[in-house]
Subunit: 477 residues, 2 copies
């Protein structure tokens, strides 16, 4: 077992170990919470970018780049927004040895700077909808806690921002963003619940927020993406108005949504095991690793076959590499690429060369398949798909396993102390009850199920008064 | 003429006008020098990224992401490097309303933070070469002057950083980076001279710097890319050592190189005209715009043909769009897409539909070509190639035109007052002479020609003493 910590019994240490050993992140930097994304981690992000960018372009989003710098008076324009982010804003006060006349913030999100520009760009209903996407770094300097990929002071993300002529269009845009994210999470083989956050947990300045909560092995959940219907809150604060066809002026309706490098934490946590990471094929930097098995100096024929296989698979668009080093044993290499999470291993030994075959080994379940050279490419594609399906099924099964139902606080506490997870229960809608719950057993009301309105099945789990809605509670990162 | 300023007689104002009107940049942001890259500008950058990224990956570079934050003590480790960048470093001193224990700089370049990590990663000769690439934002806060894309306080770039076991390998790496950049500049249709910068103009901390200077229409030159052979200067400062096969320890040999969004300024300046931008096909967000010509209400057949053409060209991988709006005249649209720099226009009128044809109009020279529907895709590809070749030829002709030779200071001054440009002359190698030249006529010694050593053809153009080398002088941005 190459990892020192066990995933099921010691998730926190397993996680800290795997992000480093699977070469996802190096956190030995001089600034806590601002880490290096290593090739194996950055590769996941590049593939996420490729998937999302294609979907965003296909749905009419235009990529742009806005400044990192946001002056205080802009951040301040939407009061709720500002108070939500202010404690984590990093301020530039000096350049060289000179003090600036006014301090400048580093973007904790780009609403303020973007909508300042939207106000200049939008004049008429013919300018709408405006659909913008940005890929950038984001600074949220938590002065206390940091946790690799889960709570970084600097992270990478995409942020979509749109402006519309009607509230209905904004609602439709929220739905479009959700379809885009569901496509991404499908490719990442993640399971999740989609909830509408309660009012007190809505994005600062938004009408409502939709969020994706994915279960982690320790029973807690992780928010892996959000979409906000901003209504006219920001357009009023930033004076983003348009002239309608009838000549009247109105404030635009807005949405914003984002997915960050945090989602990599969910990918690692959901799929990894005690041998290392398991990276879903669609986002793996290396989808298949070919390992020649050397035997009594028979390097040449094995290397030749290995190189041919790599060339053939590359030709077919598969991200494949070979490890021809002879100062490492095959066994060491097996362990190493299992640790890195490469979803498929291809072994080529002298007997395989003789028999004109190769052995495929799936990373998710260790299954070995001997395939003839003729059908290799086809079988590799099938095996990668099988790994993907295997990971996805396991993830959704996991979600089912961690989801429970509680009618009373005692029930809820019992489930929570037993396995945590996501608990379906009832709430009166009062924030005080939510606070009480959090104080008592450290779980949060994550929100209500989206789409269908669920029928309450008991009284408020906290105060016992009449419940207004069915909610999902969990302990969150 | 849609532009208010003439390129040949008033380049500075023409440039300021075109970056905004061709929708490359919007500089109406609250922070001077930190602007918005608009879709038409960001699209160029995305295509540059695509071209460079493929070349960098093919040559074994691994993409990673390093922190934006660099503590002062790291920047300070290589003294010359630090003093070169210190005046432009933006410092974060506060988070929320709390003062940080130590101020943190924003990367003006990533040598310091990267090589701190290299020291942790490199142990043995088998770890070498290490070839890293990063795509990121860079902060160089010029407190005085800013100029859109030419001198921005925040800009985007790629930076390559490598470590090698021998000096020779570092030299070869410099050459590899040059081949990569020449491929990019070829696709951007830019002309340039490649020079080795004089000692006093070398990158702070480098052994020597190779740079590309591209001529701008006002007779000045613009550095569009650089490669530095860092020797062991940084590896000694950051203690990046490796064990050789013979067991001895040695400091690694390093190189770094970068190309930024500044290159977009060269693209606009080199190719644009008084009608607007001309964007080289390989990097244009939109390569071809299809404009239906409406006539007496015959919208349907024309729109149908337009949509078919768009679908067919998209299928062939051409970045094409149609403008079907009927509240704008065809003439207005022609002007608009010329302004934006779309390299090819495709006109489809009712008679074209009847005759089963379309009209292609090249942006670079206005040439019209009537083509049958059957051969449309082929002809569009040919026309885009022709535009590219046309731009490239013009650019290299331009370089020839602006290059002169001077034996004496009088000659040099006369050429300079006449047309500026790049002047080939002789230098004794003394920095004082270089300073004198700069004071007297505001031109800089840009460097010596790379590769062949040129024979001096007169005495030092400044002091009259024996010349040591042939140098190229110019006024630079």
């Amino acid at each position: 077992m190459p990892l020192d910590h066990d995933k099921s019994t010691d998730f926190a240490n397993w996680y800290s170990e795997i992000v480093m050993k699977a070469e996802i992140v190096d956190n030995r930097t001089p600034i806590k919470g601002a880490n290096v994304l290593l090739p194996n981690g950055y590769g996941i992000w590049e593939n996420i970018q490729r998937i999302l960018d294609a979907e965003l372009k296909a749905t009419g989003h235009n990529n742009m780049y806005f400044p990192l710098f946001v002056p205080e008076e802009l951040l301040n324009k939407e009061a709720e927004h500002f108070s939500g982010f202010a404690p984590e804003v990093a301020w530039v006060t000096h350049v060289g040895d000179k003090k600036l006349d006014r301090k400048v913030g580093l973007r904790p999100t780009s609403e303020a700077i973007m909508y300042t520009m939207f106000a200049l760009w939008i004049r008429s209903h013919t300018d709408l909808p405006l659909k913008v996407n940005q890929w950038c770094n984001i600074i949220r300097w938590d002065t206390k806690e940091t946790k690799v990929l889960l709570r970084d002071r600097e992270f990478l993300w995409h942020e979509g921002h749109t402006a519309h002529a009607t509230y209905d269009e904004a609602v439709k845009q929220v739905e479009e963003s959700m379809r885009i994210y569901e496509k991404l999470f499908h490719d990442l083989c993640l399971s999740y619940i989609i909830v509408k956050r309660p009012r007190h947990d809505t994005f600062p300045g938004a009408d409502y927020s939709i969020a994706y909560d994915s279960p982690l092995p320790d029973g807690r959940v992780l928010q892996i993406g959000t979409t906000h219907n901003l209504g006219q809150n920001f357009s009023k604060a930033f004076n983003v108005r348009f002239q309608k066809a009838d000549g009247e002026h109105e404030f635009v309706y807005q949405t914003s949504y984002g997915v960050s490098t945090r989602v990599i934490a969910a990918v690692l946590s959901m799929h990894g095991d005690n041998k290392g990471a398991i990276i879903p094929p669609k986002v793996a930097l290396t989808q298949a690793i070919v390992i020649p098995i050397y035997f009594k100096g028979k390097h040449d024929p094995v290397n030749k076959a290995t190189n041919e296989i790599v060339a053939e698979l590359k030709e077919q668009g598969i991200r494949v590499k070979a490890d021809l080093r002879d100062n490492y044993t095959s066994g060491w290499k097996f362990n190493q690429y299992e640790l890195l999470g490469v979803p498929l291993r291809i072994e080529v030994g002298p007997r395989d060369v003789e028999k004109n075959q190769a052995v495929l080994v799936r990373r998710d379940n260790g299954q070995k398949i001997t395939v003839s050279r003729e059908e290799l490419t086809q079988k590799v594609k099938e095996a990668l798909e099988a790994v993907e399906n295997g990971l996805r099924e396991r993830a959704w099964k996991r979600l089912e396993e961690v989801t429970s139902e509680a009618k009373t606080l005692d029930e809820l506490e019992e489930i929570y102390s037993d396995k945590k997870g996501i608990i379906r229960t009832n709430w009166c809608g009062d924030e005080k009850c939510s606070d009480q719950l959090k104080e008592r057993i450290a779980v949060e009301i994550r929100g209500t199920k989206l789409g269908e309105e669920e029928e309450v099945f008991a009284s408020c789990v906290i105060c016992g008064n009449e419940a207004k809605e069915v909610v999902y509670v969990a302990s969150a990162y």
